[in-house]
């Protein structure tokens, strides 16, 4: 078997084939897409939840004001992703649809966990059907529902986990260790927004600007997800510089 190909390549031809060691290579390659994506992080605390994205410089001809990486899924849920942007966009649309349907059926906002679960049902199906490829994207959902502030990260395999803080994409390892050192559940909402921006500033090679950061937040009191304007982000960056936390 293998038609003269090395053993590893023989098992990544189709996603429905296990490698002898129990791995599914196509799904693992999808994780690689995520690892190459823009750094994206989510943090939740007693005060609410945030997502922060580092937008890397593309071609100077791209109008970056329009590049959107943070999405409002429903009034009380926001999302961002790392990986193949088109896959992410399609899944966010799916998530919006699921959230709408839940309001339609039950007259209540959907639970963030249930939304993450349903999106992962879609992702899982694309690891098992013939003729398709897995979604090369990990999505972070943040929100506030009846169970309090919520943060979920969904993986390309269809697994999802609840986190206090999570980083995906490029340098997510560095970001995670920075968050591990500085995270505390008792932080207020402005404090976790700052922590998010500070984390990005710490791992970024170039200096961060209000244009290179995108962020969204939701507070426990208001329960409405908001995408921050450039002015708001500038305010936080200026504060961080004044406090000497970033250069």
């Amino acid at each position: 078997m293998g038609f003269g190909l090395p053993a590893a390549t023989a098992y990544d031809r189709a996603i429905t084939i296990f490698a002898p060691d129990g791995r599914i290579y196509q799904v693992e390659y999808a994780f690689e897409s995520v690892r190459r994506g823009w750094t994206t992080l989510g943090i939740k605390s007693r005060g609410g939840a945030v997502v922060v994205v580092h937008k890397k410089k593309q071609s100077p001809l791209v109008d970056e004001k329009i590049v959107q990486k943070i999405f409002r899924v429903d009034e009380h849920i926001g999302a961002s992703f790392a990986g193949i942007a088109s896959d992410g966009r399609v899944l966010v649309d799916q998530a919006r649809h699921l959230a709408l349907l839940h309001r339609f059926y039950y007259d209540e906002p959907i639970l963030v966990e249930y939304l993450a679960k349903q999106v992962c049902d879609i992702k899982q199906a694309y690891t098992q059907h013939a003729g398709v490829r897995p979604f090369g994207v990990a999505i972070i959902f943040v929100g506030v529902d009846d169970n309090g502030p919520q943060l979920y990260m969904t993986e390309p395999s269809g697994r999802y986990l609840s986190y206090y803080a999570v980083a995906i994409g490029e340098k997510s390892g560095d970001a995670t260790s920075f968050l591990e050192k500085n995270y505390n559940y008792e932080l207020s909402l402005p404090e976790i927004i700052k922590l998010g921006i500070q984390t990005i500033a710490n791992i970024a090679e170039e200096k961060i600007t209000p244009q290179s950061i995108e962020a969204g937040y939701i507070s426990v009191d208001e329960k409405k997800f908001k995408i921050m304007s450039i002015d708001e982000i500038k305010k936080y960056i200026d504060e961080l510089i004044k406090e000497g936390k970033i250069k």
């Binding site: 649809h97 059926y105 039950y106 209540e108 639970l111 049902d121 879609i122 009846d146």
Partner: protein, 251 residues
């Protein structure tokens, strides 16, 4: 889930409204019940004659909970088929329904509602709220708009939103109320309940109000009678109580 040959869930397009109105688990159950095209196209259909639904059902919401009561008589063209039917049903520990109308439709709806409530419990890991269940019921009833299920429904229960009471007509209008009386005896019962209702009644007084309201209706409504079933829902859960009125013959 939705993913399969087609890929994604369908959008809510008008042409597919009825199909899309049903949650996935419900759709398979609904396939058992197909509507008759002849009924749909005729202007003079049998159920248009049934303007008032037989029976009496009363619901009262007070600060501590909700009391739903229904009498026990089942009639068919003026003949008493049964003196021992139940018209109030618990759906979960904290949500229940009461009906006036055709028993077949009632039993069908109770089965679907229990299915929906259990599905919700499994999927979301919490109990469905009265409002959520009432909304689902509203969607089901509306989906049968052209050949309606002949029922008027009270949905009541207790959740983190406090005690709540909803009223639905045969095509699914969804109205929140503090007290209500439905069915052929409802017009009599409401006259008893309305002047006596207060939001701060305790549960014992609310039960008495419901029983007396139904007793008043039974005196003047021929298709209601024989006893009262009470469904009492508080923060602690539900309780079902039965009171039989059958009089012994003195001859």
């Amino acid at each position: 889930m939705y993913v399969g040959r087609g890929g994604y869930p369908k959008l809510l397009l008008y042409g597919e409204y009825r199909k899309d109105c049903l949650s996935p688990s419900l759709m398979s159950a609904m396939n058992l019940y197909t509507s008759n095209e002849d009924i749909l196209t005729s202007n003079n259909v049998w159920w248009r004659d049934l303007e008032v639904l037989p029976g009496t059902i009363v619901g009262v919401r007070v600060n501590d909970g909700v009391v739903i009561g229904g009498e026990k008589r089942l009639t068919y063209n003026g003949f008493i088929l049964s003196r021992n039917t139940r018209k109030v049903y618990p759906i979960t520990d904290h949500v229940g329904v009461g009906f006036a109308g055709l028993m077949g439709d009632i039993e069908f709806l109770v089965k679907i509602l229990k299915l929906e409530a259990r599905n919700y419990r499994l999927q979301l890991n919490r109990e469905i709220k009265p409002k959520g269940l009432a909304k689902i019921l509203s969607i089901i009833l509306y989906s049968y708009k052209l050949a309606p299920l002949l029922t008027e429904v009270i949905v009541g229960g207790y959740s983190s939103d406090g005690p709540q009471l909803f009223v639905l007509d045969p095509v699914g209008s969804l109205i929140e109320e503090r007290y209500t009386a439905l069915g052929s005896g409802g017009r009599v019962a409401i006259g008893y309940i309305e002047p006596r209702y207060k939001e701060d009644l305790d549960i014992r007084d609310a039960k008495e109000l419901v029983i007396n309201g139904i007793k008043t209706a039974i005196e003047r409504d021929a298709v209601s009678g024989d006893g009262v079933d009470l469904l009492v829902i508080t923060s602690e859960g539900y309780k079902l109580e039965e009171y039989l009125f059958k009089r012994e013959s003195k001859v």
